[in-house]
């Protein structure tokens, strides 16, 4: 049997559905790689088809357009990010909330720094890919909100905190990540982990407590 990366793999004896699924996955991955390398605007269906080594007809059978393909790839990529962060947050369930947040951010930064293409696609190119992509991006970031909003209880401030606290915290942190990745410093993203921790905790806990946690993270990294 041909390895999955070989051209036109036609696994012998496997049901047709398997081949379809694997073509789809190859196309989705190709979209991530090509969009990260060339930018979303410059990416064409022909590029994606060539990278994935599938026929144009196969692409068109699976996706209505370049945008539809990008959106599906985006959802898949973000599912991985959210699963990764959730696992780290939950693994730290015994720790106080600020440490849980630091663990989740650490996992995010780890994954993004190892997967430069994922980082570029998930955090940068998505903002250039039109209205639907931007609303997916907003919805995707909102999936981190439940972790953050536990800070209302932890801080004892509850509803006294501004309604948009989570959005503000996520906005500050994603903007730092966006700048680093866009400037090509994605692989060194770990360096800004302490700043990300501060940016996310500060709106909930105030500057002193956020700085304490930032110091702890700096010591441990």
């Amino acid at each position: 049997m041909a390895p999955p990366s070989a051209p036109n793999p036609q696994p012998q004896g496997l049901p047709r559905a398997y081949a379809v699924r694997s073509e789809r996955e190859r196309v989705l991955e190709a979209m991530v790689r090509v969009a990260a390398a060339k930018g979303y605007e410059a990416t064409t269906v022909a590029d994606v088809v060539e990278y994935a080594d599938v026929s144009l007809a196969a692409f068109e059978e699976m996706f209505e357009s370049k945008e539809a393909c990008f959106l599906e790839a985006y959802d898949a990529v973000f599912d991985v990010l959210v699963a990764h962060v959730t696992a780290a947050f939950e693994a730290a369930a015994e720790e106080p909330w600020p440490e849980q947040i630091a663990a989740g951010l650490g996992a995010l930064v780890d994954l993004l720094s190892q997967e430069a293409d994922i980082a570029r696609m998930a955090m940068v190119e998505v903002t250039a890919a039109g209205d639907d992509a931007r609303s997916r991006y907003r919805a995707a970031l909102a999936r981190f909100t439940p972790f953050l909003e536990q800070g209302r209880t932890y801080s004892g401030q509850g509803e006294a905190l501004p309604a948009d606290t989570a959005r503000f915290a996520v906005g500050g942190a994603t903007s730092m990540i966006f700048d680093e990745v866009r400037a090509g410093r994605g692989p060194e993203l770990k360096r800004i982990l302490p700043d990300l921790v501060f940016a996310v905790l500060m709106p909930y806990l105030g500057p002193e407590a956020a700085e304490d946690e930032m110091r702890r993270v700096t010591r441990e990294s």
Binding site: T127, A128, G130, D131, R134, S135, R138, Q157, A160, P162, A163, D164, T165, R167, F168, A169, V170, G171, G172, A173, T174, S175, M176, P194, D195, F198, A199, M202, P203, G206, P207, E208, E211, M214
Partner: protein, 232 residues
């Protein structure tokens, strides 16, 4: 809102009437002196059209339909849609900066200055949500130049916010505050409202924005007091 208001908004950035005001804002870029009401009308129409229909659905034709001008007036001033939007974007950002700076200039100290400057931006968004969308949400359509211009505007806002250090009592101000993060957080809240189609309610965000800006420099008690004060 509508054409008239947007034209007024842009008049300050490009028109003759603005020069004195812009001069009083030293960080504002040098602006070309162009005495062309048609040009201003097209720029205003472009921002409104992009903000209400999205950049992709905007065409020279739809902009002209909005302004009631002929094709020739457009091509006398701009080479194409992209060119026009780039100019309109830069003029719109400059105007917004000038509005904020003028409002802040009427106050003496950091907190009232910030309240006034932010308030002016939010009032602008309530008056012209479509222009706001063109400037905040559709920026990517205007290319890397526009992204750089936005970064510059956000840097100016961050530098202003960081002047709080001068007023925070000594040792009180944690060294690692990134004012860029405060601006980015506020920007994210505005961006989210605009891109989900909000047409009003921006002014009501002022108290929480003041909370977020005051908190890192002066602590939770001062931030809560400021939020209450801004609500009044």
């Amino acid at each position: 809102m509508g054409k008239q208001a947007a034209t007024k908004v842009l008049a300050g950035a490009e028109g003759t009437g603005s020069i004195r005001e812009v001069d009083s804002f030293p960080q504002a870029p040098m602006l070309e002196l162009v005495d062309s009401p048609k040009r201003e009308k097209i720029l205003a129409g472009m921002l409104e059209e992009v903000g209400s229909s999205g950049y992709d659905s905007t065409s020279v034709r739809t902009v002209l339909a909005r302004t009631g001008l002929y094709r020739q007036a457009f091509y006398d001033n701009f080479s194409d849609k992209d060119d026009c939007y780039r100019v309109a974007f830069a003029a719109g950002v400059a105007r917004l900066e000038a509005l904020a700076a003028a409002a802040a200039a009427s106050q003496e100290t950091w907190r009232p200055k910030l309240r006034a400057g932010l308030g002016a931006v939010l009032d602008f968004l309530d008056a012209e949500p479509d222009v706001g969308r063109a400037l905040f949400v559709e920026v990517h359509a205007a290319g890397p130049e526009a992204l750089a211009r936005r970064a510059e505007a956000m840097k100016k806002a961050a530098d202003f916010i960081d002047l709080a250090r001068l007023e925070a009592s000594e040792g009180d101000s944690p060294p690692r505050i990134a004012p860029e993060g405060i601006v980015a957080g506020i920007h994210a809240v505005i961006h989210s409202r605009l891109s989900t189609g909000a047409e009003e309610g921006f002014r009501a965000l002022l108290p929480e924005f003041m909370y977020f800006a005051v908190l890192p420099y002066f602590g939770a008690d001062a931030a809560s007091a400021e939020m209450q004060a801004a609500r009044a």
